[in-house]
């Protein structure tokens, strides 16, 4: 995407982009001031003033912590389960063939379609939100783990076995590192799905969290507070995606072009 933005002009491009962002927000601010109706168009100039009381009272932080906690548990579980199931499926062909049909059946079902069932089974609360996050993120992690293992050159495995490596050593020292780039990209996609679904789940089945917060303030037509929530969602999503990207690069330097 940014191929021709690189090169020797990084500093100049950054400045240009900063200017562009200021320009876009400026146009938005002027338009909002002219319309002067925050139900029509929230005013970006009033967003900081609306963010401050939310931060001061700790309300915003409370919602952030609630959402992140659900992500940590749901996505964390999905990462462990996804990698383990993916490794079993990638290493044993019968397991892959057996689980392929159930996965193909379950995968197209959007995670958020499960909200009603979970509402009925466990009601509004943590279990619902954590389950949705888990379901949304586990499939890309499994699929990428399987794909990563299948791409491993068989000669590596055979070489290790010939040189006397045991099964566990092959898994730990050959298969896992070779599949790591693909596993990491599965973790990244999984996170994007998790982050997307938590907002949706909280719109319906929660009384805390960023998704709940934006719908709550929308009901009072406090659109600038809705924007505070949306910006928080955007910034956190971006930060975590970058962290995963950096981790990916640091952990698998050999996979970088």
């Amino acid at each position: 995407m940014a191929s021709d933005v690189r090169g020797g002009h990084v500093g100049r491009t950054r400045a240009f982009q900063a200017l562009a962002v200021v320009g876009i927000v400026g146009v938005w601010a002027v338009a909002a001031s002219v319309i002067d109706n925050s139900a029509r168009l929230p005013n970006p100039l009033r967003v900081p003033g609306n963010a401050w009381p939310l931060i001061q009272s700790g309300e915003l932080q409370g919602h952030v912590v609630a959402s992140l906690r659900r992500i940590a548990i749901g996505y964390g579980t999905a990462a462990v389960v996804g990698i383990v199931v993916g490794m079993v499926m990638g290493a044993f062909r019968p397991a892959e063939r057996l689980l392929d049909t159930p996965m193909e059946f379950l995968r197209p079902i959007p995670a958020l379609a499960l909200v009603p069932i979970l509402l009925a089974l466990v009601g509004i609360g943590e279990t619902l939100n954590i389950s949705i996050v888990f379901y949304a993120s586990v499939f890309p992690i499994i699929i990428n783990t399987v794909a990563g293992l299948k791409e491993v050159d068989r000669t590596y495995v055979e070489a290790a076995l010939t040189m006397g490596a045991g099964r566990t050593a092959v898994v730990r020292s050959v298969l896992l590192p070779a599949a790591l780039p693909s596993i990491m990209s599965g973790l990244r996609i999984g996170f994007q799905f998790a982050w997307m679904s938590i907002v949706g789940a909280e719109l319906i089945g929660a009384v805390t969290g960023l998704g709940f917060m934006i719908l709550y303030y929308a009901k009072f037509v406090a659109t600038e507070r809705v924007v505070v929530g949306m910006v928080t969602i955007g910034v956190l999503g971006l930060v975590f995606d970058r962290v995963l990207l950096v981790l990916w690069k640091v952990m698998t330097p050999w996979a970088q072009r």
């Binding site: 995407m1 191929s3 021709d4 933005v5 491009t13 240009f16 982009q17 562009a20 962002v21 320009g23 876009i24 139900a39 029509r40 929230p42 019968p94 063939r97 057996l98 689980l99 392929d100 049909t101 159930p102 193909e104 059946f105 379950l106 197209p108 079902i109 959007p110 995670a111 958020l112 379609a113 499960l114 909200v115 009603p116 069932i117 509402l119 009925a120 089974l121 994007q192 982050w195 997307m196 679904s197 938590i198 907002v199 949706g200 719109l203 319906i204 960023l210 998704g211 934006i214 719908l215 929308a218 037509v221 659109t223 929530g229 949306m230 969602i233 955007g234 910034v235 999503g237 995606d241």
Partner: protein, 255 residues
């Protein structure tokens, strides 16, 4: 191993996989919620799926997806061409996409409700928004990926700029565009269900609306399960259709 034996083993694995799923379901249902047992769900499917209510709601959801998806991808296509062709525009909007893209499209549901009220337009807006990014970014990438040699070759051979656009850039961008459309369509299903669930009772039709109704108002879980499976099947079929279309339109690409 003979051809027929390999085929038999593939079928065997598929069947066992399906049985495994059903057994797990039955065990979970028996412990958690007996009304979700396979017998009850199949009964509900038999009686409920052919009903007029389901037909109308499927059509209502499909229509919302069709409208929102068409608007979003048309705008995304135009924007994709613009950013693909102009490095300046790309530089200006890169940070904007960079920020908006990782944000869940569902985060727009509340604002959309403020703007459009508790109506189906609110759902359509979010679908259009969700469809926009994958189409725009993929199309933009497609245009950029066209090797300059092709462009220059065409120009050298006397093609006008318009011809280059039509005969070089557009065909080159089509596979990327189709990839973007496929992602958008997948997202649309997640968005429509969530939006209809939030907007709820005002809609009178829609798969998410029915889920809302049978969970919160009428409490008929077997029907909810039927609807969830129905969404999965519809999303799967839509994706297959999209893939087939892509294969027919761009036979030179493998997938």
């Amino acid at each position: 191993m003979g051809h027929s034996r390999r085929w038999a083993s593939a079928v065997g694995y598929r069947l066992s996989g399906m049985v495994l799923l059903l057994v797990v379901w039955e065990l979970v249902a028996a412990r958690a919620e007996p009304s979700m047992s396979l017998v009850r769900v199949s009964e509900a499917a038999l009686h409920y799926l052919p009903s007029e209510e389901v037909r109308q709601s499927v059509l209502a959801s499909l229509r919302r997806i069709a409208v929102g998806f068409t608007i979003g991808s048309a705008v995304g296509l135009a924007a994709g061409f613009a950013i693909g062709l102009s490095a300046g525009l790309r530089a200006v909007f890169d940070p904007v996409w960079g920020f908006l893209r990782p944000m869940s499209p569902l985060a727009w549901v509340p604002l959309s409700i403020v703007w459009f009220g508790i109506t189906e337009q609110a759902a359509i807006f979010v679908i259009a928004y969700a469809s926009f990014f994958p189409v725009m970014l993929n199309t933009g990438t497609g245009i950029q990926e066209v090797a300059p040699v092709y462009r220059e070759a065409a120009l050298t051979l006397g093609a006008r700029r318009r011809d280059v656009l039509r005969h070089v850039l557009v065909p080159a961008a089509v596979p990327y565009l189709l990839g973007g459309l496929r992602i958008s369509l997948g997202l649309s299903w997640a968005v429509i269900v969530a939006a209809e669930l939030v907007i709820g009772s005002v809609l009178r039709a829609g798969i998410g609306y029915l889920m809302h109704r049978y969970t919160l108002v009428l409490y008929d879980l077997p029907r909810v399960v039927v609807l969830v499976v129905l969404v999965g099947v519809l999303a799967f079929l839509a994706d297959r259709l999209m893939r087939l279309t892509a294969q027919r339109l761009t036979p030179w690409r493998a997938t």
